[in-house]
Amino acid sequence: MQVSRRQFFKICGAGLSGSSIALMGFSPAPALAEVRSFKLARATETRNMCPYCSVSCGVLIYTTGDKSKNAKADIIHIEGDPDNPVNRGTLCPKGAGLLDMVKSPNRLKYPEVREAGSNEWKRISWDDAITRITKHMKADRDANFVEKNAAGTTVNRWNTFGFLASSAANNETGYLTHKILRGLGAVAFETQARI
């Protein structure tokens, strides 16, 4: 007898139900099943951009709460923005893993200082941090600022202080950084553009 796989299953099924009827007694549980509930159902969606590579994929960031005052927005999921013409909702493994970067256990939460020769970090307040850093900067600038060069040309340059600027920062941050650095007379600054 030629029995196809499908027929075979049917026969088996018939056998199964037949035997069950024969046994009765125990009624099978009702056929219910439900999928995991859609976790974004009422989450807040914010349009943002992946900070990794220069494809600058659009992302949708989902946060808990509806932005009401007492509901603290917590990022629960990040996926691609389907409207963005470049990534059209897709992401790469880096972008797809953004949630774990945002929520990394290695996120810094407060200012810290490591004193000269020390082997550990010490938590400090923002005020302390800013005051201590600017004291260093002012002392250095006042001591090393060059107003005129040997030829007598005004150069107004401070080159004992350097700055490496982030390429993951906003344009606005970059612009303000540049504006401040030039205002201070800094010249030894760079960004990741070359590296």
Binding site: R5, R6, F8, F9, I11, C12, G15, L16, S17, G18, S19, S20, A22, L23, P28, A29, A31, L32, A33, E34, V35, R36, S37, F38, K39, A41, H77, I78, E79, G80, N87, G89, T90, L91, C92, P93, G95, A96, G97, L99, D100
Partner: protein
Amino acid sequence: MALQSLDIARRSATTTPPPGVRQTTEVAKLIDVSACIGCKACQVACMEWNDIRDEVGSCSGVYDNPVDLTAKSWTVMRYAEVEEKGKLEWLIRKDGCMHCADPGCLKACPAPGAIIQYANGIVDFHQENCIGCGYCVTGCPFNVPRISKEDNKAYKCSLCSDRVAVGQAPACAKVCPTGAIQFGSKEQMKDYADKRLVDLKSRGYDKAGLYDPQGVGGTHVMYVLHHADRPELYSGLPDNPSISPLVGLWKGFAKPLATVAMAAVALGSLFHYVTKGPNEVSKELEDELEKEDAK
């Protein structure tokens, strides 16, 4: 979502048919191996969406990581360096549940409702009903389900049934940067595959083809392969998979027959007793011994 509970095609260890009048669209995921760059975005998106994080493992001398499917890695990329006639090909295959039309896992599962096949074709594990016996593993022709060491429940790709239920694509399909993973109705996916095969054949892959193995009634995860004649090149994709005959035997005829047989023995005994009567010690013997005692 509540209605989804009724759109079920099959339910493990359940002998009565589920409500089956509604017909929903059969969905499918198509993995176009020829467009896959092996970036693992699908792996990451899968873990992210499903709230699972596998262990930070180690490098074993290959790109594959995690090296195998686990209860927390429902999909992994498998990389095969194949060199033939001096031409190197790096065949990268996304491995995971194939969502068979005739799911071996569901067939093998003894726990009612632990494995559900939805009317749209998704085969989903319901861990709350899972008893952790691991029979699904024996039932699967693709070696996909994994039992968690933490809770002894079986896990595998759900085809993001939660996303599909609300009309979204699975996380891996949505994320795939090169479009190597497509998602839609099974019909659409077959049409899309046809188009891809024309392109691949024009590029010299005469044996390009669609992997939708009929041995398991077709699958709801299909592959476009450049070498469809040799699926084993893709890190051992089975050539003509079917549910193991052992599982077929065990879960097919045998069990109902055995059940009937056991019932027959019980009934046979009963009828033997009522027809033949008890086998009692003969009165003569008893009397005889009593007599002896009396002496």
